[in-house]
């Protein structure tokens, strides 16, 4: 039964068109040039190398977790900062428990991605604030 509900008068033409189209595609498949076939083969081989492999982005959360763990370890095992630091310096160089909670608890990895920037900022010394 023809589900496409074309009228009976045109059904013969429709069948012809469908058949000719199928033949056309089959003919073109059979006549693909060697260069295209070679490319297709290469694409297939490359795709198959990814079987069982993790997509590249999947290791990002793991890397983030490792970075956080290392950060926590460094903060916990480093000696306490001198108590006479001014507040501006403490903001940058010292990490309070609250900071750690923010770092560990946050699901957003944006901060971790900017870690290099914050470390650089830390190395620049106390922040100069406009008076």
């Amino acid at each position: 039964m023809n589900e496409y509900e074309t009228n009976k008068e045109s059904s013969l033409n429709e069948q012809q068109l469908l058949q000719q189209t199928e033949e056309l595609v089959a003919a073109r498949e059979a006549q693909l040039d060697a260069g295209t076939l070679s490319r297709l083969h290469r694409i297939r081989s490359e795709a198959l190398t990814t079987v069982g492999g993790r997509p590249a982005k999947q290791w990002l959360p793991v890397a983030g977790a490792v970075t956080v763990a290392m950060l926590v370890g460094v903060v916990l095992f480093l000696p306490q900062q001198p108590a006479n630091l001014n507040p501006e310096t403490a903001l940058v160089t010292g990490l309070s428990e609250q900071d750690l909670e923010l770092l560990v608890g946050s699901e957003d990895l944006e901060l971790l991605e900017d870690l290099e920037f914050y470390l650089w900022l830390d190395s620049q010394g106390p922040l100069d604030r406009p008076s």
């Binding site: 589900e3 496409y4 509900e5 074309t6 045109s10 033409n13 429709e14 068109l17 469908l18 058949q19 000719q20 189209t21 199928e22 033949e23 056309l24 595609v25 003919a27 073109r28 498949e29 006549q31 693909l32 295209t36 076939l37 490319r39 297709l40 083969h41 694409i43 297939r44 490359e46 795709a47 198959l48 990814t50 079987v51 069982g52 492999g53 997509p55």
Partner: protein, 224 residues
């Protein structure tokens, strides 16, 4: 589609495991679990290789009829293959066919979308032709040369018809072309076409009937 359609994904894996246990002994460097995992991976790769080898020519032709550009068509096939392998290799082999068709059709649809957008952008700068922005391949120059598939033994009339048919297929708007080709080439019914195109059955019928009407008009010269 011997391996892909036999539904023997589980059976193959079991046979592979049995073969390992009976024929190969674990070495010190590679424990049994590791060997099993490697063997399963190789087995899966082999099945996927067979499946994709059977699909690649047709997939390329479907993409080429849409894009009329070799590189674009190859890129579409590449995207579809990578997505199938990376995301759906673990699915039963019997599901690979429908999945691959759907992924491929989705990639072709995206190509149409990107093309439509770029045509609109260019039309703002007055660089597109009058047909730009109609969402399909109809903007392609109808006189553009096609790669001829004429055989020496082929009737010249048939050859002319086939070339005209290819040109007419290429001239169909994207969704109409997809609906018609899925029916003609894959033999899909309305429901299967709707699943592959991710649209309703009603839309498929509309696209298909419009495609048919346009093809009949375009090929009127060949009507007897």
């Amino acid at each position: 589609m011997s391996n892909a359609q036999d539904g023997g994904f589980g059976a193959t894996a079991i046979w592979a495991s049995l073969e390992l246990v009976t024929d190969r002994r674990p070495t010190a460097a590679m424990p049994l679990a590791g060997q099993l995992a490697q063997q399963e991976r190789r087995d899966l790769q082999r099945q996927l290789d067979n499946f994709l080898a059977e699909q690649e020519r047709r997939a390329y032709q479907m993409a080429y009829l849409a894009t009329h550009d070799r590189e674009e068509a190859l890129e579409i096939v590449q995207d579809a293959m990578f997505k199938l392998v990376q995301k759906y290799a673990h699915k039963p082999a019997a599901a690979w066919g429908p999945l691959f068709t759907r992924i491929l059709q989705n990639r072709i649809k995206n190509w149409y979308r990107k093309r439509s957008i770029s045509q609109r952008i260019f039309s703002w700068f007055g660089e597109a032709d009058e047909q730009a922005g109609q969402g399909g391949a109809e903007a392609v120059d109808s006189a553009a040369p096609l790669v001829s598939f004429t055989r020496p033994d082929q009737n010249p009339e048939t050859a002319r018809f086939m070339e005209a048919l290819e040109r007419a297929l290429h001239g169909l708007p994207g969704r109409q072309q997809q609906a018609f080709l899925l029916r003609a080439v894959h033999g899909f019914d309305v429901a299967e076409t709707a699943a592959a195109m991710r649209c309703s059955s009603g839309s498929v019928k509309t696209h298909y009937s419009r495609a048919l009407a346009k093809l009949k008009i375009d090929l009127q010269a060949f009507a007897r």
